[in-house]
């Protein structure tokens, strides 16, 4: 009988019920999309920020000072260099295990056959190291620049191409010179000239697209700079900064001994920088975390925005439900009055109406969830260009939100039900 009546309501008030389901579906889909994106992209982007890209650069002391004074673009030679033979020491510092990747850089100004200038950068690609600790590490551009899009060919493999002069060419330069994989490029350095074979063409989306990347020694040979490097990029896992770290970053000398020890033995980016400076002669190591930090901040703000949208959509849904359910109950007031007149208690009537609405909410919620999962993919692809995995946590969260919003939205209608007097509605006065 109960279900016959619930069913009857759906048949008779299907338009209203559809509207209620639609309202709930709308709210649920927004909540699903926002929560999915929030829970998934947040993690993903944070992981990416940690996993890729350098967060510390090391440059010669003088170069750093000059850079600061004259704001000279990085990469331009200032006559002072770091020493290649000290590179291994980076893996001997206190926080060596937190150094996941690093690569040295040397840039040489060279001339192409047509007389135009080109920057040839020497670095490591998949540089293999046997560390004094017995550990082995493959470090270099292949992982440090993993976001490069390889348009043609593949990453240069240092280990198999040891005796060949291979190069990675930026997509802009390759277009200009009409270069393809396997083609030779001839460059003239200040001391020597060289002919490289194109191993791969990359799109980095920046200045690097106009440059040539070659193994470290090839670039050094062009300018006769054996054993010299311009800079080192280091990717390290770090602990988020706190007050102590900020104070130390300004001047480690200002710390008390115990503060200094705490700081030195924590993987703050500033303490790792400090330790790198200790092992690399005449160097300045500094954090390039600002980029990552501001990205993290934007992400946080985006998450806040999404949370706000979720809350607003839920409030909107609650208001919509409130209107629709109240209208539905009002339309049925004489029917409900009659039920009360023939002996239905408040609990029975409320139960009936809430059952109808909860069933509607479940249907609307499920549809909304599916649509919202789709939304999440669209948002993921267009905004964050990554697909979104729906975290299992989203399902109970959305379910709880839907039930809560439905119940809150139904409150005024339930109040009306409780106060509805059969005598008021049954005798047409």
């Amino acid at each position: 009988m109960f279900f016959r009546m619930v069913f009857g309501t759906f048949v008779r008030q299907w338009k209203k019920m559809l509207m209620i389901a639609f309202t709930i579906a709308l709210g649920a889909s927004l909540a699903t999309a926002m929560l999915s994106v929030m829970l998934d992209v947040g993690d993903k982007v944070n992981q990416e920020l940690k996993a890729y890209g350098a967060n510390i650069t090391v440059v010669p002391k003088q170069s750093s000072v000059l850079d600061d004074l004259y704001e000279i673009e990085g990469g331009q030679s200032t006559g002072t260099y770091l020493r290649e033979d000290e590179l291994g020491k980076i893996k001997t510092i206190f926080w060596a295990f937190n150094i996941v990747d690093y690569a040295p850089f040397i840039s040489a100004r060279a001339t192409l056959d047509d007389g135009s200038e080109v920057t040839v950068v020497g670095s490591w690609f998949n540089h293999h190291m046997d560390l004094p600790t017995g550990e082995q590490l493959d470090a270099g551009m292949n992982s440090l620049r993993s976001w490069w899009e390889i348009k043609e060919g593949a990453w240069l493999n240092e280990q198999t191409a040891e005796n060949e002069n291979m190069a990675m060419v930026g997509v802009e330069l390759a277009d200009k010179l009409d270069l393809h994989v396997g083609d030779p490029v001839h460059v003239i350095g200040t001391v020597q000239d060289a002919t490289y074979t194109v191993a791969g063409i990359f799109d980095a989306g920046g200045d690097e697209d106009g440059q040539i990347f070659v193994p470290l020694d090839s670039a050094q040979a062009l300018d006769d700079l054996d054993g010299c490097i311009d800079s080192i990029e280091v990717s390290a896992l770090t602990t988020p900064d706190n007050e102590l770290a900020q104070k130390a970053a300004k001047d480690p000398g200002s710390l008390s001994i115990s503060q200094y020890e705490t700081w030195y033995c924590t993987a703050y980016v500033s303490s790792i920088c400090f330790q790198i400076q200790e092992v690399i002669t005449d160097s300045v190591a500094s954090a390039v975390r600002q980029v990552a930090d501001s990205e993290g901040e934007i992400l946080e703000k985006t998450e806040l925005l999404m949370l706000l949208i979720t809350i607003l959509s839920m409030i909107g849904a609650a208001l919509g439900i409130c209107n629709l359910v109240t209208a539905s109950v009002m339309e049925r007031s004489s029917e409900i009055g009659l039920m009360k007149a023939i002996g239905a208690h408040n609990g029975a009537v409320t139960g009936l109406v809430l059952t109808e609405i909860i069933i509607t909410a479940i249907i609307g919620g499920c549809v909304g969830f599916v649509v919202g999962a789709g939304f999440a993919q669209i948002i993921g692809q267009t905004v964050f260009s990554s697909s979104i995995t729906i975290q299992p946590m989203v399902i109970p969260l959305v379910a709880v939100l839907v039930v809560l919003v439905t119940l809150i939205g139904s409150m005024p209608a339930v109040r009306m039900l409780l106060h509805l007097e059969p005598a008021e509605v049954l005798h047409g006065r």
Binding site: R4, E335, I342, G343, A344, A423
Partner: protein, 229 residues
């Protein structure tokens, strides 16, 4: 002891006395008609007797229990167990069939029993209309479904507020005939009407005016059959 007794009952809205010191006794098995012009307080009295409203002052004894002092929850139970209601506007649930409408009263009373519900429909001559929706029934047929619904739980009193107000003469006669049968079976009937022909079929008639009982007559030649003038 009377089945129903109203003692000095008042119902006051602001300074309007919808019921003004009403005293009335109804014996078990009696068939009573209540007459009066519109606004005289007939529905107000029916609501109080039917446990859907409480008097402002006074006592209403039903089976010796003062229902004026009961809680809303108890009133619902008393109404469910002792009273069958019939309204002018029928008030059938329009997505339930005739038999389901009867079963609805069983559902809120105890448990639905389709066989019993069909028997009730048979008593009002609607066995062949059991599976019809209210919209597929004539006004008279709808009111007969309401009678079946009112009697399904064997109430002590059947209260009918203008039961024939929306019916033509032929259907009026059929409904009155049903009342006569119920009366013969010993059911107490209180029928509100402003139609003298319907009122004259009852054993006793009370006339309300401005919330007061202005006249009480006993029908000397009571037959239970309607006579059209």
């Amino acid at each position: 002891m009377s089945l129903l007794e109203l003692k000095n009952v008042y119902k006051i809205y602001g300074d309007l006395h919808a019921l003004d010191d009403v005293n009335l006794k109804v014996e078990k098995g009696e068939w009573l008609a209540i007459m009066g012009p519109s606004g005289s307080g007939k529905s107000t009295m029916m609501n109080i007797i039917g446990c859907m409203d409480k008097p402002s002052k006074g006592e209403v004894l039903l089976d010796g229990v003062n229902i004026a002092a009961e809680s809303a929850k108890n009133l619902t139970n008393i109404r469910r167990d002792k009273i069958g209601l019939i309204f002018q506007q029928f008030h059938l649930v329009n997505y339930l069939t005739a038999v389901e409408n009867v079963m609805l009263a069983q559902y809120y009373h105890s448990i639905p029993d389709e066989k019993e519900a069909l028997e009730a429909l048979e008593r009002v001559g609607l066995a062949d209309r059991a599976k019809h929706l209210p919209s597929q029934l004539s006004g008279g047929e709808q009111q007969r479904v309401c009678v079946a619904r009112a009697l399904i739980n064997h109430p002590e009193i059947i209260l009918a507020d203008e039961p024939t107000g929306n019916l033509d003469d032929a259907n009026e006669e059929i409904v009155v005939e049903l009342f006569r049968k119920l009366h013969e079976e010993g059911t107490t009937l209180i029928v509100v009407t402003h139609d003298p022909e319907v009122a004259e079929t009852a054993q006793r008639m009370v006339v309300l005016r401005n919330g007061k009982i202005s006249k009480e007559t006993v029908n000397e030649n009571f037959t239970g059959h309607i006579r059209f003038h």
